[in-house]
């Protein structure tokens, strides 16, 4: 059985990754799950400058989900290179760096400054960030900006560029096509869904940022639909995520057209969800007689 997933000129050992922002840099989970079994580890978003993150509180639970307002809390490129890279170098699984910024130049600057690091297998570009030069609408909501950003970043590196799409758009397929046109090597979808909770006791939003990012099982049907639509219109691999808790959830994504998946919020509920999901996928493939990941595709 071949579990590998080809992205650009390299292969992921298996289709099960852990999602950006939910797994730190892996160290925090090292005692709880086998990091060497991960198909990929997507790090927390990295920006040029350190960012402290959003005001408090940053989390609120919702029905079968949660909203986070972490912001892009991270140590910035400089400290990343000295404080995080040494640990990442010890990992045997592919490490995919999640990259964020407020301008095209910021994204570009992150990649330029870290690209020589061998510990980085590929980049996942978080385009849910507001573009400060374009009135603050997220990069990922405008196909023109997405194509341009992808093109710019594509030129800077020989590593794979994975564009991570936001579901908060009218037509996610259009955005995916723009990313592919710009030279993306793969698409990750979805990032969190915009959501809001009001605290009826304090009569204020539950998080100071008012709205935040909804994740978890509640949004799984949104993610599966997005993967289905995106995988119809692009030829590059699609990495599906959103609400995966169990291997059954992951298999839904693969059948809908995903080539790989990521577990985000699911890690919080089951710290070794990634291993369990991978084992479940393997058993399913055995029973179904699937030899490779592509065998999941084309059933409808």
């Amino acid at each position: 059985m071949d579990l590998t997933v080809k992205i650009r000129n390299k292969t992921l050992p298996n289709p099960v990754g852990v999602a950006s922002g939910t797994f730190g840099y892996g160290e925090e989970y090292a005692q709880l799950t086998d990091l060497s079994a991960l198909g990929a580890l997507y790090t927390k978003a990295l920006t040029v400058e350190p960012r402290p993150g959003n005001a408090l509180p940053r989390l609120v639970e919702t029905p079968a989900g949660m909203i986070n307002s972490i912001g892009l809390a991270n140590v910035g490129v400089e400290r990343f290179l000295t404080e995080k890279i040494p640990y990442l170098e010890t990992l045997t699984c592919p490490v995919i760096l999640n990259v964020a910024g407020s301008t095209e130049e910021e994204y570009a600057s992150v990649i330029s400054r870290v690209d020589s690091q061998n510990a980085i297998w590929a980049y996942e570009v978080n385009i849910s960030c507001p573009n400060v030069k374009h009135g603050g609408m997220a990069f990922g909501t405008d196909p023109v900006q997405v194509e341009r950003l992808t093109k710019t970043l594509r030129k800077l590196t020989d590593k794979a560029i994975i564009m991570k799409l936001t579901p908060n758009v009218t037509d996610i397929a259009l955005i995916a096509q723009a990313a592919e046109a710009g030279g993306a090597d793969a698409i990750s979808c979805i990032n969190t869904v915009m959501g809001m909770v009001v605290d009826i006791n304090s009569r204020k939003p539950a998080i100071p940022a008012i709205s935040g990012g909804l994740s978890g099982p509640a949004i799984r049907p949104v993610g599966v639909a997005a993967v289905w639509r995106v995988s119809r219109v692009v030829t590059i691999p699609v990495i599906g995520l959103g609400g995966i808790l169990t291997w059954e959830d992951a298999v839904q994504y693969l059948l809908a057209g995903a080539d790989a998946i990521q577990i985000g919020t699911g890690n919080f509920v089951t710290p070794d969800a990634s291993v369990k999901v991978l084992n479940g996928i393997i058993s399913y493939m055995k029973e179904a007689g699937f030899q490779k990941i592509e065998d999941f595709h084309g059933h409808f």
């Binding site: 922002g21 005692q31 402290p52 940053r58 639970e61 986070n68 978890g216 919080f268």
Partner: protein, 258 residues
């Protein structure tokens, strides 16, 4: 630190709305220290989704059992209350840091309110066992909020209630203030409970110039330091600290009280 299936060995109501649960602990796993916590996965259904954090309220290395005290508040604790003896729950522990032990000559003053009782009680029992004479001050609104605590060998327990229906009339901090501080040259304060109580403990510690540790609370998602969700504001080079990793126990002087 381990995520393990644990058996519920016992659970009972210890005060109105408060329950104590005793669970089995894997032999191979390190013992939790006072101040550390666990997170519980309460259901296989996706709601309530997040694991819930609870401080350890006791630990028995011989029997390999741990206990926690929880207040019935919402969906997760309501579900926990329905779990029968011998049923199993998924527990991730030990998490977070722990209280610093006092110096040999220090009198440990321990303050607990509401759901803060668990960790403080565990600390009191440990200190008591180790030859200290902890003074445990437990505050509640009325008598009915005050659990009946097993007595300490060297230490003492002082109840306070806002309405005077049990013990001292007033808050736990009022009680501390009423002590004869001349006979307490070197005290050390530990507290866990509502934010207001912790802040008052901090102010008292400043006034008396004694060391003071507080156990903080914040909404958590991962519980292991990975998500940055449980941040609180602190003083120092970094604006935020994670309650689940740098905490839950902090030097009260490090907290940015608001």
């Amino acid at each position: 630190m381990k995520n393990f299936g644990s058996s519920i060995l016992n659970q009972k109501e210890i005060a109105i709305g408060y329950r104590e649960m005793t669970i089995s602990w894997p032999q191979s796993l390190e013992a939790p220290l006072p101040g550390q916590f666990l997170t519980v996965k309460v259901t296989e259904n996706p709601a309530p989704l997040l694991r819930r954090p609870f401080a350890l309220s006791g630990f028995d290395r011989e029997k390999n059992t741990a206990s926690l005290i929880y207040q019935l508040r919402g969906p997760a604790t309501r579900l926990m209350a329905t779990l029968e003896i011998n049923s199993s729950i998924e527990v991730l522990s030990p998490l977070g840091n722990n209280f610093t032990l006092p110096e040999k000559d220090e009198t440990p003053l321990l303050v607990a309110g509401g759901i803060g009782l668990g960790p403080v009680l565990y600390l009191a029992r440990e200190l008591d066992k180790n030859g200290f004479s902890p003074r445990l001050v437990v505050g509640g609104r009325t008598e009915s909020f005050l659990p009946d605590l097993s007595n300490l060998k060297n230490g003492s327990i002082h109840y306070c209630s806002d309405d005077g229906s049990a013990g001292f009339r007033g808050t736990a901090v009022d009680y501390l203030k009423s002590l004869d501080w001349k006979e307490l040259p070197s005290a050390r304060l530990y507290s866990c409970g509502p934010q207001g109580m912790l802040n008052a403990c901090h102010n008292l510690a400043l006034e008396k110039n004694i060391p003071s540790e507080v156990s903080m609370e914040q909404m958590m998602a991962c519980g292991v330091g990975a998500c940055m969700g449980c941040a609180i504001e602190v003083i120092g080079p970094e604006q935020y600290a994670r309650v689940c990793k740098e905490g839950p126990v902090f030097d009260s002087r490090r907290i940015k009280w608001t």
